[in-house]
Point group: C2
Chain length 281, copies 2
Amino acid sequence: MTADVIDSFRDTPDERLRAVLASLVDHLHGFVRDVRPTVAEWESAIRFLTATGQACTADRQEFILLSDVLGVSSLVETLNADASGDTTEATVLGPFHVTESPPRADGDSIDLVGRGEPCLVTGSVRAAGGAALPGASVDVWQCDDEGFYDVQRPDRQPPGNGRGLFAADEQGRFRFRTVVPSHYPIPTDGPVGELLRRTRRHPYRPAHIHFIAAAAGHRPVTTHAFVAGSPYLDSDAVFAVKPSLIRECALVDDPVRAAAAGLPNPFRHVEFDIVLRPESP
Amino acid sequence: MTADVIDSFRDTPDERLRAVLASLVDHLHGFVRDVRPTVAEWESAIRFLTATGQACTADRQEFILLSDVLGVSSLVETLNADASGDTTEATVLGPFHVTESPPRADGDSIDLVGRGEPCLVTGSVRAAGGAALPGASVDVWQCDDEGFYDVQRPDRQPPGNGRGLFAADEQGRFRFRTVVPSHYPIPTDGPVGELLRRTRRHPYRPAHIHFIAAAAGHRPVTTHAFVAGSPYLDSDAVFAVKPSLIRECALVDDPVRAAAAGLPNPFRHVEFDIVLRPESP
């Protein structure tokens, strides 16, 4: 049976697709043979997958969430990143990169609400050898101080709150103002939330800011800066924490620096330097 | 990573669910490690699964179709049926058991349209030892002479066309009138159709009539009677053909038998005897 199904894909013109499908059928049938689902269990699986697809909207990606809580997203990112020691580790994209981040100027604030603890984020984008990457794009997105992304709370946050697309300066540096993000539960009102409840798993992610950094000639990296000391750093619901990505969120009590940053005093400061790998090894 | 994800399900109260999820994570991560998808390929997979869920409606089940073309449905049925030599083999439910079959009396016609080659179906439901199972329920559904189910063509077929729920008589026998079903393509206007096109697989199923037979104290069987001589018996798009389920669709040219059956002369005749296993082995 399994061999017949794999053989049915023999004329697939795209070799990669053929290989992926052969592996998929092999592993999927292996899973079925292992667990020997009853027909009722198979029907439950069909219902679950259908509900997961139907929970997706323009602003919500429940299948990414499923991939996340099963550790698949993190595994894919890790296998792709294949980071050598000194480049920035990748982690999951997550389900909230659903809108384009608005382009913003160096130093701008991505906080359009004005609630929460003020925070300055500074950093740089460099090549593995240490050379600055001027003009590198830095796409950032984060939740607010209550743990919600703009698309989750259109009544309380304007579109683009917590999001920004920045270009690194001539020294490869970037800076923006924001508020300290909160740890938060992933959305639990859909099929993935039901899965977590039935398995007694908590839905929380530790506080983090998402980044995608990209520069010509280099592999883009999708990653997070995690806030040191946040709850759930040791049990992230989506298995995305890597120790190398945890950053202090230092309290700065210095009116001169606050004024220079355009922030009230005191404020928090996160430094996040990103190192990209060359495109071809 | 894989061990961490499996461990995250450790507090699942339902032992069976815990075991299924552990096996799922193991096989799913094994698949990911084998094929090492790029992030773009992972995104394609997410889009495909999302589109598959969103193609489902009250009358259409695209995830069952996906399960079918990957041979999973047939594998699940086969593992569950675990037929001993003399009981009727199971095969897939398929995606068109989406409405309840209307109850009909012995000998009724399930053809509400009057187009196609008239056909008499007779058979019996018996226990493995040979004993008749009076009152056994026989749920049947089939496509029309053009290869479409009622729910696919609401403009050309009334609801319930090609469907009927019968009760076997005191001798465990059932009979109904219909038309010879056509071979047909599974729906190709959704994501599964796109998969078949990209892999150069044809979408056809050989001609068949679906049955679910059930009787107290016995395991119900979900199966088909396949029409002998139909195209695609050797390459069913959903891997559901079993030689034991192929039946002659004999031409009967006999005005007396035709009149007795309530059919024009000549007509076709299919005999399909079903043998159920006892509930507990």
